[in-house]
Structures are given as structure tokens and as C-alpha cells.
Amino acid sequence: MTRILRSLRDGIGFDVLLVIIALSYLLVFAGLPLIYNVIISFQTVDVFSLGTLWHPNAGFDNYRAIFDDPLAGRVLWQTIVFTLGSVALQFTFGFALALFFHQNFTGATWIRGLFLAAWVMPGLVVGVLWNWLLSGDFGVINHLLESLGLIEDPVFWRSNVETSLYAVLIANIWYGTPFNMILLAVGLAAIPGDLYEAAELDGANAFQRFWTITLPMMRATIGAVLALGIIFTLQQFDLFAAITQGGPAGSSTVAQYWSWQLSFREFDFGRGAVISVLMIIVVLFVSLIYVRSTKAETQL
């Protein structure tokens, strides 16, 4: 006890204390639920056994059930389309905007700030907003497409099995682009301006400067942005809840939404947990790439 008091007074060992606090927090609020999630993926958990901490062992039954489910293949495919589509287009638009605002014209900072406003909106609000924009009868999107002559009849984005996934995808691209833009803008701002001047004198045109200076100097940032994009997209739930609820007929169901449906609609927590375990594996793999790319950054 005196040792602890002394450590507080002298500050010796205080660093160790801080690390212990942080680690305990991680263990209690992230580690234990994670482990418990893995455990219940091997157990039979229903409404009746929900109240108890320990449930009957189910072996690999839950995993088998998920893989045999006729919905599994479609959910996997829709998750891939949604994730890659979101990340690729958020990144592309985000990078284009970051480059655009990097020109520093008058008002650039203000408009950039406005973009951030979109990002701080809660997902459910964004979902409601896009419900309205995508609405079949009086939606702005249909009106735009019609006046451009791209479609003749209104598209019922949310209730059509062909388009429901894209309805959420479009909303998510809009929602995630500002985040990509800000991170990439920070990366751009970190490149010293004299490198561009040196390259210009060395004979590089704008395209060559982008290709030989900007892109390689941004490698770590780009890696981080893509990895974070994948992780955030795999966490996206609110937009599905607000726009399509995974429907119609599962046409916009992605893994994270399916997991929620199994657990909280069908009260089959074992199978819901199986999906989260599989997703954790994917996220761990992506995080590994993220960590490696930030390491490359410190080495530069």
C-alpha cells in the first residue's frame, strides 16, 4: 500500500499503472465479450436459455446450419458487393475531393467543413434522408435521372430486389466519402510542397507528379484509409435498418444485418454469433494490413 502511495507521489511506476488500467478496460469491455461471443457460437442459445450464463454445447451445429442455409451464399455475395463497392467509391470520391480542395481556392476550408457535417450525422438520420431522396414516387434521385433521360419510369429503389442493395450502397457511399476525404486530405497536406517544385523542375508534368510523388508518399495513408473503410463498412447497420431492413426477400441482407436478424428477430443467438465470429476473422485480417501500413509510414 505504501508502495502504491509512494508511486503516486513520485510518479514512479505511474506509467505502469496507466498501462494496467488501459489493458483492463480492453479486457473487460472488448476481450471478454469477444471470447464469450466465440463460446456461444458453439452453444445452443434460445429465448429460454438466454438468462443463464452457460448453455448446452452444440459443437459445430451452428456453423453447419449457417453454411447450409440457402441465404448464406447470397449474403456472402451481397456483403462483398456492398463492402468493396462502398470502399472503392468512397475512396475514389474522397480522394478526388481531397485533391480538389488541396488547390486551396477561396472558401475551400468552409466547403470542406460542410462535407464533414454529413459525416457527423447519425446513421439513422442519414438513412431517413436517403429514404426520402430514393423514394419511388417523389424522390429527388428519380426526378434527376428522369430529367437527364436516363430512366423513363420511376425506379422503386428500396422495394425492388434488383436495386435494394444499391439503394443502401449509394447512401453509404455518400455517408463515408467525407471521412475518406479528410484522412486523405491530411495525407496530402503532409507532403512537403517543395517536393512538387523539385519534381516540376526535374521535368514532371502534373500526371507524373501525382504518379511518382503523391501516390507513393500517400501509400501508408491509403492503406490505412482502405483498411478502416472495410472495417467501418462491415459495421454499417443503421442504414440497412432505416432504408431496407435487409429486404425485400433478403435482397439487401449483408452479414452484419443477418447476424442481427438471427439473434434478435429469430432469437437464435448461437447462429448469430457464428456470423460475428466469421466477421471478426475477416476484420482481424484487415487490421493486420492496417497495422503493417502504418508501420511502413513510420519507416519513411
Binding site: P192, D194, L195, E197, A198, A199, E200, L201, D202, G203, A204, N205, Q208, T212, I213, P216, M217, R219, L300
Partner: protein
């Protein structure tokens, strides 16, 4: 005669700020020109305007006789060495050196050959595969130089390339840069705020102040015949002493505003009774006996010595500096006698600062 770089009444405005005023400068092929002046006088702006990194507001700029006002930097065929070196951090030394050649489509074998060749010239043979962050300041500076010379450009532009090095290395690099210039027969424009660097390296020195050329000429001309008080005070170290005075009745001597109002002979004919600023370099004030007939009697207030030379600071206003060789035996409080060769005395118009010598010549 066509000059390698020629500026004709070049002006540069940043919004309402007038950064360059009526700059006219003609640099023949092979010349080493130094742009020197206090910080913020527009040296970098002038250099960057030549490079094309800044657009000039008016006037003309020619490189090898061809007007380049509308050419972007990459088409001007000039190489620049930045104060920050601006090495590409994600490339090896070899790739830094050959970047321009790669853009030009020079073959891989030829690039490798030229990289080796240049590395030998600048003494970096063993470092070709390193990244810039693995090099010392001096080595980075050499890479920056190598990146410029490998291109064989029409001219080299240097923006204070040595200012991030320690004093000893700076003195050595001064000679190396100049030797390199001579060896490859280059044309160089070298920006520095250090007048000693400008005087020791350049064939032609351009003194800038507040965006204007105060004077240009050979180092010796600037030292011996400064056109105005600013140049007189800027060139030379320690700086020239200035003493207010009045031209005496015979027009060949000045009465100094020092205790006792001593007379000082000059070789400049002036209007008797005219108020002037008298300029005398510390190294032209010769120590003698205080009792000699023509000596200025001065009281020493402080003494600084470097071993090779000593600087005597005098009491009263204005404070004067007298340079003597070796270690002085004189102490603070001593009275000294100083005599000055009349041909070494400069006179300046107090209002405009213009030298009276040019008027009398």
C-alpha cells in the same frame, strides 16, 4: 551578345505587396552570380521567378535568348538546389539522382552509368542505395547537388544551399560548389544572405534590398566603390563605420562629429559646408600614436580578439570599430590614435545614402 539568363525590368507583386522592383540583370554563360541581401529582400522570389515557380507580373525573362515568360518550370531546363534539399524521401539516392532522366525516357543502362559518374564527382559512390533519411546533412546536400548536375541543365539555381550546414562544412562546401561550377562550365545563380559567401564564391554580386537591386558588380568593385550607404554597410565584415561630418572650407577634408571635431582628409571633392556621412571600414583604420599630428584620438571601450585579428570598440556615439592584426595589447580605457588613407574614405549623402564618389568621378 546573348546572355544565358537575362531579366529586363522584371516586377513581381504579391497582391498589393511589391516584392521585386525593376530588376534588370544579364548573366553571361559560365558566370557565377550571387544574389545577396538581408532576409526578406526578395532573393528567393527572384530565383523562383527565374525558375518559373513564381509568375512575374511584368518585364521579360529570357533564357539563352528565348523568352520564357509563358514556359512552365519543367520546360525551362533549369536545375534548382533548395535550402531544404527537397530530396524525394521515398526514393533511394540513385533514384533521386536519376529521376529527371527517367522522366525524359533515358534508358536504364544509361541512367545507371550517369548515376555512377555523378556519384563519383560528388563523392557518394557508396551511398547510392540509401534513402535520404539515412544520410547526414552534408550528404543530403551533395545528393541535391548531384540531382542538379546529372541533368546538364542550362543553368543552376541555388537557394541558400549551405545554410543548414555547420560552419566548418559550409566553408569547405563553398569551395567545392565553386570548383564544381568551374569544372562543368555551368552558369549559376546563387542566393545567400551571407555576404562572405557571395564575395568568396561569385564572379558577379547583386545586392538586393526591399525588392530592388542596390548595386551589382564584381566583389572587389562592391567593396572598393559601394554605390550607396546600404551596400557599404552590407558588404564587408565587421561593417563599415559611419560618422556624420561636414565638408570643410577647402572641399578636400571633412570635419567629423566626434569629440574635438577632428579633420579627416579625403580624395573626394565636395561642396564646402555640405552635411555628409563619412564611411571608413574598420580594417582601413590604422593604429598609431595618439600624439601623431593627423591621428584621430579615440578612447577604447571594449576589445574582442579572434587571435588572428582584434576588434577595438570605441567609446561614445557613434560607436566605431577598429580592426588590428594579431592580439592587441590595448585595453579598455586606453586612448588610441587612428589614421586613415584619404583614398579609403567614403562619403555619402545623408538623405539618399548615395555615394559622393561617383558624383566626383
Amino acid at each position: 551578345m546573348t546572355y544565358q539568363i537575362e531579366l529586363d525590368r522584371v516586377e513581381k507583386h504579391y497582391g498589393r505587396f511589391h516584392a521585386l522592383k525593376e530588376i534588370s540583370l544579364a548573366i553571361p554563360k559560365g558566370q557565377f552570380v550571387a544574389l545577396v541581401g538581408p532576409s526578406g529582400c526578395g532573393k528567393s522570389t527572384l530565383l523562383r521567378s527565374i525558375a518559373g515557380l513564381e509568375r512575374i507580373t511584368s518585364g521579360t525573362l529570357r533564357i539563352a535568348g528565348e523568352p520564357v515568360d509563358d514556359l512552365p518550370p519543367r520546360k525551362r531546363d533549369l536545375a534548382m538546389v533548395f535550402q531544404s534539399y527537397a530530396l524525394y524521401p521515398h526514393m533511394s539516392v540513385r533514384d533521386n539522382l536519376t529521376y529527371a532522366l527517367r522522366l525524359k525516357g533515358v534508358s536504364r543502362a544509361e541512367r545507371a552509368r550517369r548515376a555512377e559518374e555523378v556519384a563519383a564527382v560528388i563523392g557518394l559512390e557508396t551511398l547510392l542505395d540509401r534513402r535520404p533519411r539515412e544520410l547526414s546533412g552534408g550528404q543530403r546536400q551533395r545528393v541535391a547537388m548531384g540531382r542538379a548536375i546529372i541533368r546538364q541543365p542550362r543553368a543552376f539555381l541555388f537557394d541558400e544551399p549551405l545554410s543548414n550546414l555547420d560552419a566548418a562544412l559550409r566553408v569547405r562546401m563553398r569551395k567545392e560548389v565553386r570548383a564544381l561550377h568551374d569544372r562543368i562550365g555551368a552558369t549559376s545563380v546563387y542566393v545567400t544572405h551571407d555576404q562572405i559567401e557571395a564575395m568568396t564564391m561569385a564572379d558577379h554580386v547583386v545586392v538586393l534590398q526591399a525588392g530592388r537591386i542596390e548595386q551589382q558588380g564584381t566583389p572587389v568593385a562592391l567593396y572598393d566603390r559601394p554605390a550607396n550607404r546600404f551596400v557599404a554597410g552590407f558588404i564587408g565584415s565587421p561593417a563599415m563605420n559611419f560618422i556624420p561630418g561636414v565638408i570643410a572650407g577647402d572641399g578636400r577634408a571633412v570635419r567629423l562629429a566626434l569629440p574635438g571635431n577632428p579633420m579627416l582628409e579625403t580624395t573626394i571633392a565636395g561642396t564646402p559646408g555640405l552635411q555628409v556621412e563619412v564611411g571608413i571600414r574598420p580594417e582601413h583604420m590604422v593604429l598609431g600614436s595618439p600624439d601623431a599630428p593627423d591621428a584621430l584620438p579615440l578612447v577604447v571601450n571594449a576589445v574582442e580578439t579572434t587571435g588572428a585579428a582584434s576588434y577595438l570598440f570605441t567609446e561614445g556615439e557613434p560607436e566605431l570599430i577598429v580592426t588590428t592584426e594579431g592580439t592587441a595589447t590595448i585595453r579598455a580605457g586606453d586612448t588610441i590614435g587612428v589614421s586613415v588613407d584619404p583614398a579609403r574614405v567614403h562619403l555619402f549623402e545623408p538623405e539618399t545614402g548615395a555615394s559622393l564618389r561617383s558624383a566626383s568621378l
